[in-house]
Point group: C2
Chain length 425, copies 2
């Protein structure tokens, strides 16, 4: 389509922010927003620093001072965490604090913003909903669009979320390597390794450990998702039974597995053990707890293992499908705003499984906000300790392909905010 021309009296500016826990590909969405905005003739593309929180402090940057070339765009796609900085900030209800909203729109007006794009999870979609509602009620013309992001894959209405595929790929690849490590050291000696995976309420990432089951790798032996009540006696019996058949067990558990009575497994360690030497109550890790438990019951060598924040930041082994889709939904949000949409979130629709194809769709954000999406019961086996073929078929396309990191002096290079180019308010 022809680029729209700006005239001298009215600027067509756009602003984009990043919010919530970062992912390996949230910056690919930012790259998609920037490139598409430039292609569609927007004047200035602003980035808010640390999301809406920094925006309220008038912390923003003209992205053309940061992204100078297509090479920078490619580098941004390979940079983990939030390039612009992120925040965890929930907007007040509109009726609770009108002044708050007026302040936001004053800044938007002053910057001549036509479209506001927010890349984030459930809370961010709540932000889009409130701002677009307020704009409509008050007659403001700015458009508000949400771009999904979360490694947890727990947003409703989208087939999956950008960030999930890369986290799943990192977890599956690391699980393969950990399994090799465990088997290499095992000789006539039983050992149990428990891998703790992120996703407090939704088991998508924990289930992704099943992708480590390949032609040359057995994968984990047991997988426990938070959606299914964890029965520790049944767990012990299952482990005992498996140990009669094999020496080395690898078990994946979600950090959020809970007992039938609603208590987290990591709370089971009791008051004494969960108080640190300084008297603070600490929730012990789920994997560590279960490793202690099994060691106590069975006496074998056990090890608990957390994948930690590398699950969301290991961009050196991100998925090409994921990076491309993250870029696509960023661009689609700009296109939607440019064509007059507001109060919507871009989603990923799965067009086909074989070959895998996807496209960007769009939904009213009122239908999305604050709904968590869980692994369906029928995608977990009857015993509740492994995912089914359907689960694997769903995830597998999302970890395919690579963007080779740009290696400089032996390490992946990142694009990092040039602080000298940030105008202070």
């Amino acid at each position: 389509m022809a680029k729209k021309q700006s005239n001298n009296t009215h600027k067509r500016n756009i602003i984009v922010g990043q919010s919530g826990g970062p992912t390996a590909v949230i910056n690919s969405s930012l790259a998609g927003v920037y490139k598409t905005a430039k292609e569609r003739g927007f004047d200035t593309v602003y980035g808010m620093l640390h999301g809406i929180q920094g925006f309220l402090d008038e912390q923003y940057v003209d992205l053309s001072t940061q992204i100078h070339s297509d090479m920078d765009i490619e580098l941004l796609k390979r940079t983990p965490s939030a390039f612009l900085g992120s925040c965890r900030f929930k907007l007040p209800e509109i009726h609770e604090d009108l002044e708050f909203y007026e302040r936001i729109f004053q800044i938007l007006d002053r910057l001549e913003i036509e479209a506001f794009i927010y890349i984030g999870g459930n809370d961010s979609m709540d932000t889009i909903k409130k701002l677009s509602d307020y704009a409509i009620v008050k007659g403001h013309t700015q458009k508000f669009l949400g771009v999904p992001k979360t490694i947890d894959n727990d947003l409703a209405l989208t087939d999956h979320t950008p960030g999930f595929g890369s986290a799943a790929k990192y977890i599956a690849a690391s699980t393969k390597e950990v399994i090799r490590d465990c088997l290499g050291l095992s000789y006539h000696k039983k050992s149990i390794t428990i891998l703790e995976v992120m996703g407090r309420n939704a088991g998508w990432l924990t289930g992704a450990t099943a992708l480590a089951k390949t032609e040359e790798c057995e994968g984990p032996d047991l997988i426990y998702l938070p959606e299914i009540a964890f029965d520790i006696d049944k767990f012990l019996a299952t482990v005992k039974e498996l140990l009669e058949k094999k020496d080395t067990l690898i078990i994946a558990v979600s950090e959020g597995i809970t007992l039938a009575d609603g208590r987290y497994v990591c709370e089971l360690s009791g008051d004494n053990a969960s108080v640190d030497p300084f008297g603070h109550r600490q929730l012990q890790g789920t994997a560590t707890y279960l490793a202690h438990f099994l060691h106590s019951e069975l006496g074998h060598k056990t090890r608990g293992f957390e994948f930690s924040t590398l699950q969301r930041s290991a961009s050196h082994i991100s998925s090409r499908v994921d990076i491309d889709e993250a870029f696509m939904v960023g661009g689609a949000a700009v296109k939607a705003a440019d064509e007059g949409d507001t109060g919507k979130m871009v989603v990923i629709d799965r067009i086909s499984d074989d070959p895998y194809m996807s496209s960007a769709g769009i939904y009213d954000v009122h239908r999305i906000a604050n709904n968590e999406r869980f692994v369906p019961r029928e995608w977990v086996n009857e015993d509740g300790n492994y995912v089914t073929e359907e689960f694997i078929n769903y995830v597998e396309p999302l970890i395919q392909g690579d963007y080779q990191p740009f290696m400089v002096n032996g390490l992946p290079q990142h694009l990092v905010l040039d602080q000298n180019k940030i105008k202070q308010p």
Copy 2:
């Protein structure tokens, strides 16, 4: 050189084993042994399963049933952990158990072994020393050669050990990603992240976190090696001082840092806290302990973080220099044995820093065994909380270059032992 021909009456066989904690490149050494042995006209190349321990159970495999092509050789270079399986097994002193040694040489004679190659760390070099001593005393003609291996880089006489470069690369790349993650979430809020790195007595890997300091990354703020006594009061004062200047601190510590009185820092948590809910005494992680300590003293958000066994098994981001050198020393051991050497370990000599060049040298194993090599005091700053430019210049060449993983269905493929081809004794 011309290939030696075997005749029908006497086989020229060779056997290779892997021992100790695995690395990302120990299989590249195995590949180097196999390829060089074939090129030099050895008949059968046996692999002992789980090192000398499996060998004593007559567990071995003809490697030609496992490695079918140059493609398999390349895949082996990209496979972490010990392809043949590893063990932790220290041979008795010769005078303590002559029968033990006789049994080993009976098996060697029956398999018509001419050369015995052992890939491992200090304990493995001890094995080479004892077996070659015994052979000389008893008039056996087999040659015994050691190939160095350890991520800890603590072997004497070699400039560095195969496995160290890849572990350093994984740690430095992950540290960069963790730093991006921490900074992305930090906004007017102080936070401290403590990274715990392997290397109980030697700080080579902990120091390698300094490589994360690049043109676009500040790197860690403080680095504490086990070679220097840890002063917790001074540590607290340094952290307080830094927090006046910046919000986000990243601190790398060795798992083995100790106080001046010799106690491990991870022992400081006291009896109560280090007893798990089942009454077992557990050493709490060093990073977790220090995170609790700082949180207690300063009140800021703190997080402890362990890199875990991925430090030794993350072959998906291994160093090309490391893989090539691991291959080289494997081949050099075969060459040395073929030319009549015994009781020696191959080492890596650094020929030049700029450009980096290395070659394989060879040392009498009696000079090597059971000597640990530490980071020199002058490669740590005066305050004992960062490494110097000399340290960085030493490590940097060792993390350069990549072997792209062979990706199958989105994940790195490995070469795995075909159990069906293993002859049972």
